[in-house]
């Protein structure tokens, strides 16, 4: 950043640097200094915007959030902060809403991630075949991802409506009684997971597809010569070939699942969305954070939930790395 304040002092640009005279030597020394600063400093100036933005929108909020989480403070009176130390954290630990939300986050995460990735894998495998209109199918796979969460969740909410929803109507054709999707815990979680699955399956499928196309053809040929069926080829060649991509999508999905927010919020609509159902039956950690911050206006407690989520993600990744390492050692 220092470079920006040093103004060019060696004459107007365009004049040739004079040489030989004493003052010229002085000038040259200064200009080489500037030159060196330029070469060394310019890259920092170029990357500065990112770091400035990062500091302002990521680092500062992180620090400020942790500071707030040690206080009792309401949204309407942010200037009145009362120091409470780690009380918010201990209260959160004792709060059954937190454990409920954590459990819901995990169950909805599993319900949505596992089928989603399996379906994506299958879909990618199909798209990987030579088929007519493959570009169309690839674009089609990505369309749900391009839909906004809000729109998707609203439509699914209508589909899953109790009295006049299309899904209950279809089930009624098979003699199934109307299911109260919203008020039944597992039904609600399934419905929300279906929104997530619908939106992200195509996206993951394309990631897998890209990875699959990097697998050399001759491996398949060799496998075919050895008499491997398509299914065996898929298991023995494709899956090992894209293992790192699979790990990557698992990481992405885990982050996404931990932060799950928009789908359940809109699925519940109104006050029930914020609390994740009348019985908190589908309240995720993200919703709990929102409830504390923007319904109860307790910013300190909301910040505590945010930090708990952050720490949780770290724990998840440490565990994952350990598992990975152990697995690698065994293999």
């Amino acid at each position: 950043m220092a470079i920006s304040t040093s103004t060019p002092s060696d004459g107007a640009p365009g004049t040739a640097p004079p040489a030989g005279t004493g003052t010229g030597g002085d000038r040259r020394r200064r200009s080489t200094l500037l030159h060196r600063l330029d070469v060394r400093g310019a890259p920092y100036a170029f990357v500065a915007p990112f770091f400035v933005v990062f500091a302002a929108f990521s680092f500062y909020p992180l620090i400020y959030t942790s500071w707030i989480s040690l206080h009792r403070v309401e949204l309407s009176t942010l200037n009145l902060m009362e120091w409470v130390g780690f009380d918010n954290y201990t209260a959160l630990w004792d709060d059954d809403r937190f454990w409920n939300a954590l459990l819901n986050t995990i169950t909805i995460g599993v319900l949505s991630t596992v089928p989603q990735l399996l379906m994506a894998l299958g879909l990618a495998h199909l798209l990987n075949y030579q088929l007519r209109g493959s570009t169309f199918f690839r674009v089609a796979a990505l369309t749900p991802y391009a839909t906004s969460v809000g729109a998707a969740a609203l439509v699914f909410t209508m589909l899953f409506e109790r009295d006049f929803g299309m899904i209950n109507w279809m089930l009624s054709l098979f003699g199934v009684d109307n299911i109260d999707w919203e008020n039944n815990k597992w039904a609600a979680q399934t419905a929300i997971s279906s929104i997530v699955i619908w939106r992200w399956t195509g996206y993951n499928a394309l990631l897998y597809l890209a990875a699959m196309q990097a697998i050399p053809r001759d491996r398949y040929e060799a496998a075919a010569i050895d008499g491997a069926s398509r299914w065996q080829q898929f298991l023995m060649v494709t899956v090992p070939g894209i293992r790192s991509t699979i790990v990557f999508t698992i990481v992405l999905s885990t982050i996404g699942a931990t932060q799950l927010f928009g789908e359940p919020l809109i699925f519940g609509q109104g006050p029930n969305g914020i609390t994740g159902g009348a019985d908190n039956q589908y309240q995720t950690l993200g919703l709990l954070l929102y409830e504390e911050g923007w319904k109860n206006y307790q910013m300190g407690r909301a910040a505590t939930v945010a930090w708990a989520m952050f720490l949780l993600l770290i724990v998840v990744f440490v565990v994952q790395r350990v598992v990975q390492r152990v697995a690698a050692r065994k293999a």
Partner: protein, 437 residues
């Protein structure tokens, strides 16, 4: 020479990128530290307003009328669709001291919180001339302990019972609105009794008597002087007999299968209105517009409005003026004009927002108002009578809105999740502790 040029070029780029980076920081620091958007310039006065939902001032052209009558005034109104979003933004703006408008709308559920925590930021409207026409209880809702008035009333939501005549008939209940009102005159428990009769005799087995038990609960609570808080601002919901009785009756309705297990304004409720899955809904005046829109022309004349057992009020808003506004005087004049009896009566006629002005209740627009959709019910008279039954003082609490939501959810626990009333009360009590603590 070439080399030099290139060098100076790099330097320029570096300088530009550093400056723009600095610029980012500065713009984040917030330079908008003063003002509320309004001001005076070249003899023109600009007044900014922050509104939400359908308050009607912009929609019915009242603001245009005012600007026509006051050629030197320009009004800029921002209308947020959703009150929750609006209020969160308002709170942030109040805390930051920037981004406010000269005039801000205040929903009733927020009135107490704002007058408790932010009253210094609002102009005291107690002395504004020509503003002594409000219903006493409406004015009491925004008057602070030291007699400061932080807002002037716009609409209110006096309550009645909307019912389906055809469904009443097939269940052998009277259909005339006078006789229907007599069914439950003076006591909400008679309303539940009527529901039991309805359920017994109804030939349509999929039709419930009421949409939700929380509608009944609200109506019972909101007719009283003290609800969840007492005058000193202490929480009394757990001991207040009003709340206890309402909870008992509402959970009785919920456990006797009298409700359609819906939530008002949530999915299922609108199609329920259209398809007649319930026969009654306790309805504040502003709900009629929603019902007639969602139930649709096919159900015109099937609905009617009967007097509720007891007068109650659900909802309503205020307009406040910000202390920081550079056009305080002009903003006050505008607020006084917008909430004057004539304008309130006009808004009622146009979009059905019920007047909070006692004087307006006597104007022909209100007295003679009949609803075509609701079988020609004299809605002006019915709702005005309900408004006048409410005790002169209504004590609001800081978290009234939140507590109401939690109670509604508590009743949903009984209604749709088969929890026992005792269990649901325990959960509700615990949640309120969390929400207000």
């Amino acid at each position: 020479m070439d080399k030099f040029r290139r060098k100076s070029h790099t330097r320029v780029v570096a300088a530009v990128s550093a400056v723009s980076a600095l610029g980012l920081i500065v713009s984040c620091g917030g330079s908008d530290s003063g003002g509320t958007g309004g001001g005076k310039k070249d003899g023109k006065v600009t007044i900014t307003m922050g509104l939400f939902g359908v308050m009607g001032f912009k929609e019915t052209g009242l603001l245009d009328t005012y600007m026509k009558e006051h050629p030197n005034v320009v009004i800029k109104a921002d209308v947020a669709g959703d009150e929750q979003t609006y209020y969160t933004a308002l709170q942030t703006h109040l805390a930051a001291g920037s981004g406010l408008k000269d005039i801000q709308g205040i929903e009733i559920g927020r009135a107490k919180e704002l007058s408790d925590t932010q009253q210094d930021k609002f102009v005291n409207l107690a002395g504004v001339s020509g503003t002594d026409h409000f219903l006493p209880w409406k004015q009491s809702q925004v008057t602070t302990a030291d007699k400061k008035v932080i807002g002037l009333g716009t609409d209110i939501g006096p309550m009645a019972v909307c019912y389906r005549k055809d469904l009443f008939e097939q269940a052998g209940l009277p259909t005339d609105r006078e006789e229907v009102a007599k069914l439950w005159e003076g006591d909400w428990s008679k309303y539940v009794d009527a529901g039991k009769r309805f359920k017994q005799n109804s030939k349509a087995d999929k039709v419930a008597f009421m949409d939700t038990s929380s509608g009944l609960f609200n109506a019972m609570i909101y007719g009283n002087s003290q609800q969840f808080y007492d005058k000193e601002g202490e929480l009394i919901y757990a001991t207040n007999p009003v709340v206890k009785d309402a909870w008992k009756l509402a959970s009785e309705a919920a456990t006797s299968g009298l409700t359609a297990k819906l939530r008002q304004f949530q999915p299922g409720w609108d199609p329920g209105l259209a398809n007649g899955t319930f026969a009654t809904a306790v309805c504040p005046a502003w709900m009629l517009a929603h019902i007639s829109e969602k139930a649709g022309p096919a159900n015109k004349g099937k609905w009617d409005v009967a007097k509720a057992p007891k007068g109650a009020n659900w909802g309503g808003s205020f307009l406040g003026v910000m202390e920081k506004s550079p056009v305080k005087k002009e903003a006050q004049d505008l607020v006084a004009w917008l909430t004057a009896p004539a304008q309130q009566a006009y808004l009622f006629k146009e979009i059905g927002n019920f007047p909070s002005s006692q004087t307006a209740l006597g104007l022909p627009e209100v007295v003679d108002a009949k609803s075509d959709y609701f079988s020609g019910a004299p809605i002006g008279k019915i709702f005005a009578a309900a408004a006048q039954e409410i005790p002169d003082e209504q004590v609001l609490g800081r978290k009234d809105g939140t507590i109401k939501d939690i109670f509604s959810q508590g009743l949903t626990l009984i209604e749709a999740q088969n929890k026992s009333p005792e269990q649901a009360w325990k959960t509700t009590d615990k949640r309120i502790g969390k929400a207000v603590g």
